[in-house]
Symmetry: C2
Subunit: 114 residues, 2 copies
C-alpha cells in the first residue's frame, strides 16, 4: 500500500481525512464521510468505498446493510493531503433518507447570484 508521506503522517497522528464521494458518471456530489488509514486501505484494495464512522467508532463499508454500495473507479488526494475524492458508481441512494445525494437541503443566498 503506497500512501504518500504527508498522509501517512496524518494517520500516524490519528487524524481522519474527509472523503467526498462523487458519482463518476453524473458528477453529482453524493456525500461526505471520513477515513482513517484502514478505511482508505480497504477502499483501495477492495474497490468498495469504506469509511470510518465517527459516531460509532467503527469501520463502515458503505451499503453493507442497505445494499447501496459504492464501487470505486478513481481515488484522488488533494494538495494538502487532508481530503480525498472518490469517483464512484453509486448503487441506489447514497443518503440514508433514500435521496440520491445527502446534499438535498438548499440554503438561501441573500443576494441575487450574478
Amino acid at each position: 500500500m503506497n500512501i504518500p508521506v504527508e498522509l501517512a503522517e496524518r494517520f500516524d497522528r490519528n487524524e481522519l481525512v474527509a472523503a467526498i464521494a462523487q458519482d463518476g458518471t453524473t458528477r453529482e456530489v453524493l456525500m461526505l464521510a471520513w477515513m482513517n488509514r484502514e478505511a482508505l486501505t480497504l477502499t483501495l484494495t477492495t474497490g468498495r468505498a469504506t469509511y470510518w464512522s465517527r459516531s460509532r467508532s467503527a469501520l463502515w463499508v458503505k451499503g453493507e446493510s442497505s445494499g447501496h454500495t459504492q464501487e470505486v473507479k478513481s481515488v484522488l488526494l488533494d494538495c494538502d493531503s487532508d481530503a480525498i475524492l472518490l469517483l464512484v458508481d453509486q448503487v441506489g441512494a447514497a443518503c440514508h433518507t433514500g435521496d440520491r445525494t445527502c446534499f438535498h437541503s438548499q440554503m438561501m443566498l441573500e443576494i441575487e447570484p450574478n
Copy 2:
C-alpha cells in the same frame, strides 16, 4: 440569517463544517475547506465563498489575494448538517498550486475496477 437548528447548535459548540466547492458548470470538485458560522454567513450574504482557515485561525475570502474568487450560485446542506456543498463559478485556478482543482493526485486502486 436563517441557519437550521442542528447547524446552529454545531456552530454554538464551536465545531466547523466541511465545505466542498464544486464548479457549477463542469461539476468538477475543486476543493474542500472549512466554515464557521461567520464564514457561512458571509458566503450567503456576499455570494463570495468565504472559509475559516484552521491553520491561520482567520476568515479567508477565497481569491482575496490571488484574484481566484468563487462566485457562489447555490449552497446545499447535507442530511446531518455537518457538510456544505457550494456550487460556484471559479475564477482561474482553485488550487494554490495553480491547478484548476486541489484534487490532482491520483492514488492507485489495487484491484481492477469493474
